[in-house]
């Protein structure tokens, strides 16, 4: 449609020289003022049609392309949110971001301005060539002589330009990652006075970006120079051959003039084509980059049932819920093996642990023994490489993600708060049961009280409505941890997975949190990753992890008596 209108607005334009020509030859030569007025009115009318068709075309594409960019960004964003953590760890965030923003903006700009022209230009040139053939075939021969090397040149240009533009767009992603790191790691950079180091890293990237951009510009310079010169060379050829033909008598003066005039009109689209070619190639690269990311298959997905992929998780959750739970409240790790994609050896090598309903088990082990990995398997942030994880007796891979994650409350060692009010951050935990809509203030206060966060929240400028997270008030590590803990317990989930949830909290507060937490833990099946004897003491049993296996399970006192590894971990010298 828009291409059609582009053809109309460009095509109608050709009438103007025809009309003016007619006016000069007709009414003006015959001194017919009335006829002249008529033709002038016709010129104005053509102008009106031309302007109107352009207005309509641009208006249509405007709404369309803007809509389009947003839609495709939404698709990518939704896809990124579905993509599993392992993929996220493997991709630079800047590479993901640049595909969602720069690449899509580039595609949108091209679709709005370049695309209609790059589609109609070959037609215009073809029509021009046919018209030349009607005037005299010799002109087409000249056109071809000029056009063939141009095409070879364009092919050469395209292959080079594609490489340079891909490299430049990839480096753009690195720029974004580098900026993000230098801002998020600003405390480390400041503490060590290493801003110059970060600056040097950034400069190296920017210099590479510049080099790729300059390569592009140099290639463009050749192309632009060529598309400027070649049509004009064709005109020189036309004039020479035309003059020779007229002198020899096998061509008329009128034919030569007509060919030259036609070529003058063809110049614009040919030049335009040159300018747009670069944009077209960049857009092709942008599209390739976009699809590369879209083509990453999420490896952690809802189970297939009845042969149809269950993607609409929310809808499926209700179907999955009434499934009979053979062993309600049991969290079980069965010979779990887990290995990162690019690791040489597994991190978990057959970990087996059964947590009974309403039981609390503390997971202890040295740094890097696999505790966090084991905890991350429960909400399926990662999937097991071997063995299985079961809740309520069902393999977690057999549950829809939404169902599974609504049953498991988690708190991470590094608390992540969203840019939202405290109310909303905590309420996220309750959406487990009654959906995002209901936000029960009573329950939020209760959760905050358990996490010993109620007092400091009450002192914040807007109480529960204080905005926190990256776009909000900055809280201390301990405060963030307590809000994250409140979020985990707010929904009263049947399962709790807490990864060292109080590491940044002072001893007195920790003590109070633990007293409160006991009431919650009495009715919840919980796995708590712990570093401290005090946290371990909170549990009914303690599981000791060493080199990817659970090596001992038992009560705190019992293990102190029997396990040397545990004594060592708890800092008790034998």
């Amino acid at each position: 449609m828009s291409i059609l209108l582009a053809l109309v607005s460009t095509g109608v334009g050709f009438f103007v020289p025809v009309l003016t020509g007619a006016a000069v030859d007709g009414p003006i030569a015959q001194r017919d003022l009335r006829g002249l007025t008529l033709l002038v009115a016709a010129v104005a009318a053509v102008g009106l049609v031309e302007a109107a068709s352009q207005l309509i075309r641009r208006t249509i594409t405007a709404a369309m392309t803007a809509e389009w960019e947003v839609l495709w960004r939404r698709r990518l964003f939704a896809h990124l949110q579905r993509l599993d953590v392992a993929h996220h760890d493997a991709w630079d965030s800047g590479q993901m971001l640049s595909r969602a923003t720069n690449d899509l903006s580039m595609l949108r700009r091209f679709a709005a301005f370049g695309l209609p022209f790059i589609v109609i230009t070959p037609f215009l040139i073809a029509i021009g060539a046919i018209m030349l053939a009607f005037i005299h075939p010799v002109f087409v021969v000249i056109l071809l002589v000029v056009a063939l090397p141009t095409m070879v040149g364009v092919a050469w240009f395209s292959s080079r330009y594609k490489i340079a533009s891909r490299a430049a767009q990839d480096v753009m992603g690195e720029v974004s990652t580098s900026v993000e790191e230098s801002v998020q790691g600003i405390r480390v950079l400041l503490a060590f006075g290493r801003s110059p180091w970060a600056t040097a890293r950034f400069r190296a990237i920017v210099d590479r970006l510049r080099d790729h951009e300059i390569t592009k510009v140099r290639l463009e310079a050749w192309l632009f120079g060529a598309v400027m010169v070649l049509p004009q060379l064709a005109m020189v050829g036309f004039a020479i051959v035309g003059a020779w033909g007229v002198v020899d008598g096998w061509i008329t003066l009128g034919q030569t003039v007509a060919a030259l005039t036609l070529m003058m009109y063809l110049r614009m689209p040919i030049e335009m084509f040159g300018f747009l070619l670069g944009d077209a190639l960049m857009s092709a690269t942008a599209a390739a980059r976009y699809w590369e990311l879209m083509d990453q298959e999420p490896r952690i997905t809802d189970p297939d049932r009845d042969g149809r992929p269950a993607v609409g998780a929310a809808a499926e959750a209700t179907d999955a819920a009434p499934r009979p739970a053979p062993q309600p409240g049991v969290l079980e790790f069965d010979d779990v093996v887990f290995q990162h994609d690019d690791a040489h050896e597994p991190l978990l090598r057959g970990a087996t642990l059964r947590i009974e309903p309403a039981e609390t088990v503390a997971l202890v082990g040295t740094t890097g023994s696999g505790k966090t990995a084991l905890a991350a398997l429960v909400p399926r942030l990662f999937d097991v490489t071997g063995g299985s994880v079961r809740i309520d007796g069902v393999d977690v891979r057999k549950l829809t993600l939404s169902d599974l994650r609504s049953r498991v409350g988690v708190a991470f060692e590094e608390p992540i708060l969203f840019s939202a009010s405290i109310r909303e951050n905590v309420a996220m935990g309750t959406q487990a049961i009654e959906g995002a809509a209901t936000i029960d203030e009573e329950r939020i206060r209760e959760a905050l009280t358990i996490a010993q966060a109620a007092d400091f929240v009450a002192e914040l400028p807007d109480d529960l409505d204080t905005e926190v997270g990256e776009q909000g008030l900055s809280l201390s590590g301990g405060q963030r941890q307590r809000i994250a803990l409140a979020r985990a317990v707010a929904g009263h989930p049947p399962f709790l997975v807490l990864d060292d949830p109080l590491s940044a909290v002072d001893v007195e507060t920790e003590d109070r949190v633990q007293q409160q937490l006991r009431t919650v833990l009495d009715t919840t099946t919980a796995l708590i990753v712990a570093h401290r004897p005090s946290t371990a003491a909170l549990a009914d049993r303690v599981a000791v992890m060493d080199a990817g296996r659970i090596v001992a399970v038992g009560g705190h006192e019992e293990l102190l008596a029997t396990s040397a590894v545990y004594r060592d971990l708890m800092g008790v010298s034998a």
């Binding site: 102008g47 993901m96 971001l97 230098s182 040295t366 890097g368 060292d500 570093h531």
Partner: protein, 605 residues
């Protein structure tokens, strides 16, 4: 305005969506500043582009000459009349090609130089802005400045600027030609300028508004994406996906509306310039035709004139496009200017003092009449004095929010005190060069941020010049070596995004290794062992006891195990030092610290 809102304003992110009124002028100053060092280059480029435009305008005149007179003359036997204009045209064509080639190259090179300079300036400035700014700002917004905004400026500089200059000079050249050809008809053409100018100004104004909206909106979208990607674990665990999708829909909706109105504006602008061009052609035809009838103008002249009028309006389409890009680029530049205009709260002295040569045994620290409040007036540390002799290890304890972190942030000059002064060996920190201060005083915090790259690179952050052996020694001292030896590429293993390959305990050990490698006079540990298990903590403490020999140290720890190696304990409560003595003495005295210590002992099994 209430005090509570004040507090929020000063401590939460503030990127005013309304720009300061003189932002356009400030952005222009910035641009001039960037252009100045290359001004010769810019003058040459503009000259090249003007020549290009003029040469482009002259070409058709020569062709017309060849067609109208050359060919008939050639038929009549006078080849010269054809050869001369054709040779000139050929030469002109080659000249145009060369001008275009060099113009494109030079513009591109200059634009890239400017982009590199602007990017560096922004990056350096953001690094200088200090912690107070970063606590209010978001990484996503700064990423938007360096990517999306910069991209827009670059697109304008490399592409549209050339079109603008070449197009305008071509129009100028043709305008002169028209004047020479026939004054009366030229005036008819120039009458079209009045509506043209009016439309341009109106559109320009609207575009400025639209593009500012677009830039603000896309930054919000980027912030949302960065935040989602950064917290993907939490997003998925708490099924935040659909909420995030709603949010990006809302923010992208504003972007879509801003983009659409900008494109609508382009549509109106382009269509009305087209209409003006056609009407002006019609007017020339009418007036010209009438003049021909009056026999004051020749038919050939009118034909040529009409041809030129058409060419005159030829570049208008690309000019419309270039003006839109110009507004987009200047809106982006304004956004960058806002960041560059933010004044760093902690400023490096112009003529710094040096620390006295180290006598051995660390450096003496003194807080004299120091007071610290936030910008909103909330006092964190009321006026206090504190002297720490060289070589002493001091533990600071107290509840969350007692002001412990603020105290050490003053010592490491993350903040400057509101009143009083902090000195190192008698020298006010504000008079020290940043490099010297950071070399003498290093802080390890609870958050152990890892940068993309290898483990070795991350440890070397402590001292970039360190040898391999020194770097390995630091890793061994904190007990990282066995873990690193199991990694696929040892020290050269990539840590993955934000150190994802390492556990949080291991990341903290990397921070320690950095600090050991940095080998400072004053070491500050702010909750630096929070994520460590007890055996690792013991190992670090063993290493610390040797490292801290001959050094001044301040240690903040909730776990009192660290206190065992301290010579002195400070207990902070609501910003005041309430106890200050050797740990044994405090335990004896039975105050706050004694109670904390008893609770701690009890918690350890």
């Amino acid at each position: 305005m209430s005090g509570a809102t004040d507090a929020q304003d000063s401590r939460s992110p503030h990127e005013p969506d309304e720009l300061p009124p003189d932002i356009a002028a400030r952005a222009r100053r910035l641009l001039l500043d960037l252009v100045r060092p290359e001004r010769t280059g810019y003058v040459i480029v503009i000259a090249v582009m003007v020549a290009f435009g003029v040469a482009n305008a002259a070409g058709p005149a020569l062709i017309a000459q060849a067609m109208d007179h050359g060919i008939p003359a050639a038929i009549a036997g006078n080849m010269r009349a054809l050869v001369v204009p054709m040779t000139l045209f050929l030469l002109l064509t080659l000249l145009i090609g060369v001008l275009d080639f060099w113009g494109t190259r030079m513009t591109g090179t200059l634009a890239q130089r400017l982009m590199v300079a602007l990017r560096r300036r922004l990056f350096d400035h953001v690094q200088r802005l200090g912690i107070a700014y970063h606590e209010r700002s978001t990484s996503g917004r700064l990423v938007a400045r360096q990517t999306s905004d910069m991209e827009n400026i670059q697109t304008f500089l490399t592409g549209s600027l050339v079109e603008l200059v070449a197009g305008l000079s071509m129009m100028g050249a043709i305008a002169v030609t028209l004047l020479v050809m026939d004054l009366r008809l030229a005036i008819v053409v120039f009458l079209g300028f009045i509506p043209l100018l009016w439309v341009s100004i109106a559109s320009n104004r609207a575009q400025r508004r639209n593009q500012r909206r677009t830039r603000t909106a896309i930054a919000k979208v980027i912030v949302q994406i960065v935040e989602t990607l950064g917290g993907i674990r939490a997003v998925q665990s708490f099924r935040r996906e659909s909420h995030n999708l709603d949010r990006i829909d809302a923010e992208d909706d504003e972007y879509r509306r801003a983009t659409t109105s900008s494109l609508f504006n382009v549509a109106w602008f382009a269509a009305s310039t087209r209409l003006i061009a056609s009407l002006s052609t019609a007017a020339v035809l009418l007036v010209g035709g009438w003049l021909v009838m009056q026999e004051t103008v020749q038919v050939g002249m009118l034909t040529a004139f009409l041809l030129y009028v058409r060419r005159f309006y030829g570049p208008l389409d690309s000019l419309v496009q270039a003006i839109t890009m110009y507004q987009s680029a200047s809106a982006a530049l304004e956004k960058v200017t806002v960041v560059l205009d933010a004044a760093p709260e902690v400023v490096e002295p112009a003529s710094p003092t040096h620390l006295p040569p180290r006598a051995g045994g660390g450096r003496a620290i003194e807080f004299a009449d120091v007071e610290f409040s936030y910008a909103d007036g909330e006092t964190v540390l009321p006026c206090f004095d504190l002297a720490i002799p060289a070589g002493q290890t001091v533990a600071v304890v107290g509840q969350t929010g007692a002001g412990k972190s603020t105290l050490v942030k003053l010592l490491t000059r993350f903040y400057d005190p509101t009143a009083g002064r902090v000195t190192l060996d008698g020298v006010d920190l504000r008079r020290l060069a940043d490099a010297e201060l950071r070399e003498s005083a290093v802080m390890v915090t609870q958050e152990s941020y890892l940068f993309g790259g290898s483990i070795a690179e991350n440890i070397r952050l402590g001292r970039p010049g360190a040898t391999d052996a020194q770097m390995r020694a630091a890793a061994e001292a904190v007990g990282l070596a066995p873990f690193i030896s199991r990694l696929p590429d040892g020290y050269d293993t990539d840590v993955r995004k934000r150190g994802g390959r390492l556990s949080s305990g291991q990341r903290q050990l990397v921070s320690f290794a950095r600090a050991f490698l940095a080998d400072p006079d004053v070491l500050v540990l702010d909750e630096a062992t929070a994520h460590l298990d007890i055996p690792s903590e013991r190992l670090v403490q063993e290493a610390l006891s040797t490292v801290l020999e001959g050094r001044t140290a301040i240690i903040i720890a909730h776990r009192l195990s660290t206190v065992e190696i301290a010579d002195r304990v400070l207990v902070l409560d609501r910003g005041r030092i309430v106890e200050d003595d050797a740990p044994a003495v405090l335990i004896e005295a039975g105050g706050r610290f004694a109670r904390l210590h008893a609770a701690w002992e009890e918690s350890r099994v």
